[in-house]
């Protein structure tokens, strides 16, 4: 089990960043709509 921890952590890092990117992307689209 403990051998899978690096995998989980790596995927978490990856996941956090991609979620952040998509939120920013959505914000850009929403702002461009308002402008």
């Amino acid at each position: 089990m403990s051998n899978f921890i690096p995998m989980i952590v790596s995927l978490l890092i990856w996941g956090v960043l991609w979620i952040y990117v998509f939120r920013l992307d959505r914000r850009v689209k929403e702002l461009e709509k308002n402008a």
């Binding site: 690096p6 790596s10 991609w18 914000r27 702002l31």
Partner: protein
């Protein structure tokens, strides 16, 4: 659009490669744990590069006095802080798996926290100043000073003080080594590119958002 797809593919490759190839470490008891190397090290490198980017725009601001450079500086620093936290967390999880404790005061482990403190100090300074011109001016100066100190803490200290982290004099892994073979580079290189690309994407989006938000204010 193609850049985003390319980035996604790159990440897919990295994740597959990190798991299919042999772990990048030989001669240790639990080599599997070292797979985190493909994720932890690029993130740590990107956070340092982010700091360099922030400092670079600080220098540009001092030279040209354009507030946009200060915006770039603070955006770079904000994203750099996020990456720094991720690097610290992934590092401490690696530490727990390899040496038994989340925190060891190993020089290299501590240096990433010092970088984090530098980022936080940068933002404390910014929040203590109201006038935008003064804020830009002083943050730029501080980012340069912070960079100098960071070079000492990140590059010089871990190499001369004994520690646990791979690469320090007298670490527990001497006798084994990170195998930087072509196979490791095949995964590590793209990983570095992928995280740097992701950072850059986040950076451009953030800049665009600040620009649009300011426009909306003026409307």
């Amino acid at each position: 659009m193609f850049g985003k797809i390319g980035l996604l593919l790159l990440f897919a490759w990295v994740i597959i490669g990190a798991w299919m190839f042999e772990p990048p470490m030989s001669g240790v008891s639990n080599p599997e744990v070292y797979r985190i190397f493909y994720f932890h090290v690029p993130v740590a490198l990107v956070t340092f590069m982010a700091y360099c980017l922030a400092m670079y725009h600080g220098l540009l601001y001092l030279r040209n006095r354009r507030l946009f450079d200060d915006k770039k500086s603070s955006t770079a620093a904000l994203l750099g802080t996020i990456f720094c936290v991720l690097a610290t967390v992934s590092g401490s999880i690696f530490a727990r798996q390899t040496w038994g404790m989340y925190w060891n005061w190993d020089p290299r482990q501590t240096s990433i926290v010092v970088l984090l403190l530098t980022y936080l100090a940068y933002f404390s300074l910014r929040s203590a100043i109201a006038d935008p011109l003064k804020k830009a001016n002083l943050s730029a100066v501080y980012s340069i000073l912070g960079f100098i100190a960071a070079v000492f803490t990140i590059f010089i200290w871990p190499r001369i003080a004994p520690g646990l982290h791979p690469g320090a004099p007298g670490d527990s892994t001497s006798g084994s080594f990170i195998v930087m073979s072509t196979k490791t580079w095949l995964v590590f290189g793209p990983s570095l590119l992928a995280f740097a690309g992701l950072y850059y994407w986040l950076y451009s989006l953030s800049l665009k958002i600040s620009g649009l938000e300011e426009e909306n204010l003026h409307v």
